[in-house]
Symmetry: C2
Subunit: 337 residues, 2 copies
C-alpha cells in the first residue's frame, strides 16, 4: 500500500495507495507510519499523501486482505453487521440506512436486509418500490439510486399499507429466505435492520446469519437505555460481539435561535455504553432535514460529518480482528523494504 517514500533533509514524504479514499484503517495506517518513522529518527517530519488504487489493483488487493474465504463459503458476503435496539423508534432503520449510504460512498459494495417484517421502513427511505426480479441465479435484490442492494418484505407486497399479520415462525422463515434465497452477489457489507424486541426476528438473525457484530442504537431517554440494555444482554447471551452504541435524537437545534434543545432529556449514552460494556460511537441530532429526506426516499442525499465518523468506527471495528493484522503487517513490510 506504500507507493513511494522520499527523504529530503529531515522530511519524509510517504505516498500511500489506498483501495478507497476513506479506507476504514486510514487513520491507523497514518499513526503506524509516524510511529515507525519516529523509531528510525525522532527528528524526522512525516508527510503522508494518499492516492486511490486503480480498479484492477483494488480487486486484487481486496481479495488478498479479505483472505481466501468470505464469511460464508456459499455467499460472497464479507461482513454482516446487524443494527439493533430492543426499543422501537430510536432510529435503527435510519442508522442502518445511513451506514449503508456512507459505506457505499467509500466505494464498498453494500446490501441492506430489512429484517423488520411487520414494520419495514428501508424501501421507503431509499425511494424504491419495484418488486425484485429473478435471473438464473435466483432472486435479485432491488438496487437503490446509488447501487445499494436492498431486500424487504415491502418490496414483495402489492400495497405498502398491507399488514403482514404473521406469528413468529413465519417471520423467521421470511428472514431466512432473505438471507438464503436472495442472490446478493459480492458484498463488502450486508447491513441487517432488525425490528425492536428480543423475539423471533432478532433470534433468527443471530442464530442463522454469520453476524460480525451488533451496532446498538439508543435515544437519550433512560427508558430507552433500559430496553437497550436488554438487547445488549441478549447479544452477549448469544455470543455476538457489540460493535458500539449510537445515540440518536440526542438534541434538536432550534432553526430560529440556534439553541440546542435536549428533547428527550439529558444524554444517558455514556452510562448506557459503560453498562453494556461497549464504546459510544457517537451522537446524532434529531434532524428534520433527515426525517424529510427519509420520507421522500432520499436518504442517499444526506450529509453529516458525525455519521461519517461513526461509519469509520463501525468499519474499523468490524474489520479489526480479521484484517487489521493483515493490513498493518503488509504496511510494515512494505515500509521497511
Amino acid at each position: 500500500m506504500i507507493q513511494e517514500v522520499v527523504l529530503i533533509d529531515d522530511h519524509v514524504n510517504v505516498t500511500l495507495v489506498l483501495p478507497f479514499p476513506n479506507a476504514p484503517l486510514k487513520k491507523k495506517l497514518f499513526a503506524l507510519i509516524r510511529e515507525e518513522v519516529a523509531k528510525v529518527d525522532g527528528q524526522l517530519v512525516v508527510q503522508i499523501n494518499v492516492n486511490q488504487m486503480e480498479p484492477k489493483q483494488r480487486t486484487s488487493f481486496m481479495t488478498r486482505i479479505r483472505g481466501k474465504e468470505p464469511a460464508i463459503a456459499m455467499k460472497n458476503i464479507y461482513q454482516v453487521i446487524a443494527v439493533m435496539s430492543g426499543k422501537g423508534g430510536v432510529g435503527k432503520s435510519t442508522v442502518a440506512g445511513l451506514l449503508a449510504v456512507m459505506l457505499q460512498r467509500e466505494g464498498q459494495e453494500v446490501g441492506v436486509l430489512d429484517a423488520d417484517i411487520t414494520g419495514p421502513s428501508i424501501p421507503k427511505m431509499f425511494g424504491v418500490s419495484q418488486p425484485p426480479i429473478s435471473d438464473t441465479k435466483g432472486i435479485l435484490p432491488v438496487k437503490s439510486r446509488t447501487g445499494i442492494k436492498l431486500m424487504s418484505i415491502n418490496l414483495l407486497l402489492a400495497d405498502e399499507a398491507v399488514p403482514v399479520i404473521w406469528r413468529g415462525p413465519l417471520i423467521s422463515r421470511a428472514i431466512e429466505q432473505f438471507w438464503r434465497d436472495i442472490s446478493w452477489g459480492v458484498l463488502d457489507y450486508l447491513i441487517v435492520d432488525l425490528p425492536p424486541g428480543t423475539s423471533d426476528a432478532a433470534l433468527t438473525v443471530a442464530q442463522m446469519l454469520p453476524v460480525r457484530g451488533f451496532v446498538v442504537v439508543t435515544s437519550p431517554q433512560e427508558l430507552a437505555g433500559m430496553v437497550v440494555c436488554k438487547a445488549a444482554n441478549m447479544a452477549t447471551q448469544l455470543g455476538i460481539p457489540l460493535i458500539g452504541l449510537v445515540e440518536n435524537m440526542s438534541h434538536v437545534r432550534c432553526p430560529n435561535c440556534g439553541a440546542e434543545i435536549k428533547v428527550f432529556g439529558p444524554s444517558q449514552a455514556e452510562a448506557t455504553a459503560r453498562q453494556i460494556g461497549t464504546r459510544l460511537l457517537g451522537h446524532i441530532p434529531l434532524d428534520s432535514e433527515l426525517a424529510i429526506l427519509c420520507d421522500n426516499g432520499l436518504i442517499e442525499n444526506y450529509n453529516n460529518d458525525e455519521f461519517t465518523s461513526i461509519t469509520e468506527k463501525v468499519a474499523e471495528m468490524a474489520n479489526t480482528s480479521q484484517s487489521l493484522e493483515t493490513l498493518s503487517t503488509s504496511g510494515e513490510s512494505e515500509y521497511t523494504k
Copy 2:
C-alpha cells in the same frame, strides 16, 4: 343525573349530579340540555351547574349504566382499550400511560396491561418495581402511587435489564396469563400497551381479549404513517374498531425563543387518519418535561390540556355504543319530568 331545575324569569338553572367531575359525556349532556330547553322556548337562558355524586350514589349509578354484565362475565372489566402503532418509538407506552393517568384522575378504576414483553416500559414510567403478590383470588397487579393497577413482565424479573429472549408462542402465553390469571378486580378501563408490529402480541391481544377498540399512535413522519396504516389495516382485518389516531411528537417548543419546531417534518396525521378511516383525536408535542417525568417514574405528575381532551374523546368513543344511549335517555326522561 339532574338534581334540580329552577326557572326564574327567562333563566333556567339546571343542576346536574355526575359520577365524576369530568364524566366523559359531560359536554354531550350539556348540549343535550340546551337543545331540549331551546325546544321548549328559544328565548330561555340556560345555566348548568355540576355536582359530584356521593360514593354510594356513584356505585349504584355506575352499575345501572354499565348494564348487568361487564365485558366478560368472569372479569369485572368494563372496557378494554388497546394502544397500538405498528411503528416503534412513536410513544405508544406514553399514550397508554397518560390515558390511564387521566382516566384515573376522573375517578375511574384503571389498570394497565403491558403487552410489550420484550420491551416493557410501563413499570419504569410509573416508578414501580416491586413484584406482584398473591392472595386467595390469585396474583394481584402492582398498584402505582395513585392506585392504577399495573402488570408487566418487568415486575417479574429480578433485574430490569434481563432480556426476555422468547419466540412468539411464549410471548402469547405471557399475555394470556396477564389477562386470565391476574386478579384485576373491578376496572372501568383496562389499557393494553401493545408492542410495535403486527405479529404475536397484537394478534393474541386482538383474538383473546374483548378489545373495545384500538387507539392508534403515530408520529408526523410519513414513514411512521405508512407503518401505522399496516397496524390499522390489521385491526380492520381482525374486526376491531379504531377509536382514533393520536399524533405524538408533533413539534418541539424551543425553550429559548418559543419557536415551534417540526422536528419530524410537517404533520401527516390528518392524511393518515383519513386513510385509515378514523378520526384524529389530537396532537401531543415532544415534551422534554414528559420524557424526564417518565424516566423518573413520575408520569402521574404530568399535566397537559390537549391530552385531557384526547382522553375525553377516547372515553366517549369507547362508551358510545353501549352507554351513550343509556345516558342520553336517562337525561331526557329526568329532564322532561
